[in-house]
């Protein structure tokens, strides 16, 4: 299973890296926009005043055998859920993965939607269906906030369960400021012509950034799951090897003890007869 997890991890990792190029370009484009002097205001970027309904999207695995992966994510999720219930009248749960579903139903949480078709390679179309639905509900004012809990990927040796607010997309507004403040290399200081206008480009880029962000969460979760499984299975294999060697030793000792005993008995018997 360690080998299977390793192979799946490689695939998931490749996909995550490929997706990185897209998000990177989006961030760069937002930076260019900010430098072009367009003020970055967009309905998806502003905090809502009303606090009627929030959605919490929880990304867990379909299968276990991956150490503390699901547990970590679910603990963070429950903490965030309690936080949200304090501020919002109603909190809907969207759960991805059988593990999360059974954990939460067992604890009597009401789950609005659940998805079990995501494995180690979520496709953009699949994720986009969920993202679009949520985006639409946010735009029409049906929900006021969307949080996601997933295992965030920092490096191969470090992933942490993390809870983030993705609608409103305050993160993007923050990158805006950073980008314009930092000293960009001269090549990206080009004066761009915007078609039709910086505002219109911004209008389009915010939903795109949201979709890309959601997709990245799914990819991070997939990579995190495979890494967790790989580590857990490696530990299990090593543990089993160790157990086998200690059991073999015990078995050999017992057998040798028995043989020695029998020889002593035979020798004792022969001595008694002579």
């Amino acid at each position: 299973m360690e080998l299977v997890a390793t192979a799946q991890f490689r695939r998931a990792m490749e996909r995550a890296v490929a997706a990185g190029a897209y998000s990177e370009r989006i961030v760069r484009l937002v930076g260019d926009l900010a430098r072009a002097g367009g003020d970055a205001s967009h309905p998806l970027l502003d905090e809502r005043e009303s606090s009627k309904k929030a959605v919490l999207l929880i990304l867990t695995a379909n299968r276990g055998m991956c150490g503390g992966y699901n547990g970590g994510v679910l603990r963070t999720a429950v903490a965030r859920l309690e936080e949200l219930t304090r501020t919002f009248e109603e909190v809907e749960l969207y759960v991805v993965g059988k593990r999360g579903f059974s954990y939460l139903t067992y604890r009597d949480y009401k789950i609005a939607r659940s998805f079990f078709d995501f494995e180690d390679k979520p496709t953009f179309a699949e994720v986009d269906a969920i993202a679009s639905e949520l985006l639409e509900r946010y735009q029409t004012g049906e929900i006021d906030r969307l949080d996601v809990v997933y295992s965030k990927f920092y490096s191969i040796s470090k992933q942490r369960p993390s809870a983030e607010t993705i609608l409103p997309l305050t993160e993007l507004a923050a990158t805006d400021g950073d980008e314009s403040a930092e000293d960009a290399p001269s090549e990206s200081r080009l004066q761009f012509e915007f078609l039709p206008s910086p505002r219109s480009v911004l209008e389009e880029i915010v939903p795109t950034a949201f979709r890309a962000k959601t997709f990245k969460c799914f990819l991070d979760a997939a990579v995190g799951e495979q890494i967790a499984r790989m580590v857990a299975m490696k530990a299990a294999t090593e543990n089993a090897d160790e157990m086998i060697s200690s059991l073999t030793t015990t078995y050999n000792r017992a057998r040798q003890g028995q043989i020695t005993n029998e020889i002593l008995e035979v020798v004792g018997g022969a001595n008694a007869l002579s």
């Binding site: 996909r15 490929a18 997706a19 190029a21 897209y22 998000s23 370009r25 989006i26 484009l29 260019d32 926009l33 496709t123 953009f124 986009d128 639409e136 735009q139 029409t140 004012g141 090549e187 080009l190 004066q191 761009f192 012509e193 915007f194 078609l195 039709p196 219109s200 480009v201 389009e204 880029i205 795109t208 979709r211 890309a212 997709f215």
Partner: protein
């Protein structure tokens, strides 16, 4: 001049070109060597790449952005496929789905208009691909 098209999943196109025609939100826009730096909003439609040997490669892209600077044209799009991979039935189905969406509030109407426009563009592209 280099042309790069990326979707959230992967880099779809990365090649040397002579001339690129991109589908902007309101019509086609051509980019040649030495074009002024530009950022544009893409619509759904045909992306035409004229390669170094004067052959033309056709792609279908759906929404996103194009950025041209320093003789590199980069497209960020949610969906990109070869023209020949378009499926007319699937596109027509998508158009019907879009037409059946509710439009009971201004926000929903806006979402619907956009979905319908995108689906129409895909049907047009698929029909064009079928004629070839």
């Amino acid at each position: 001049m280099k042309c790069v098209a990326v979707t959230p999943e992967k880099t779809v196109v990365e090649r040397e070109t002579k001339f690129v025609v991109v589908p902007l939100y309101d019509g086609e826009y051509a980019i040649g060597v030495g074009h002024t730096p530009v950022v544009g909003r893409l619509g759904a439609g045909e992306l035409r790449l004229t390669l170094d040997d004067d052959s033309v490669e056709r792609w279908y892209v759906e929404g996103g952005f194009v950025e041209a600077a320093n003789d590199v044209v980069s497209l960020l799009t949610t969906r990109a496929c070869k023209f020949s991979e378009l499926d007319l039935n699937e596109a027509t189905q998508a158009l019907n789905d879009a037409l059946n969406r509710p439009a009971t509030s201004p926000e929903l109407r806006e979402i619907k208009t956009k979905a319908v426009a995108t689906a129409r563009a895909r049907v047009r592209a698929a029909e064009k691909a079928a004629r070839r």
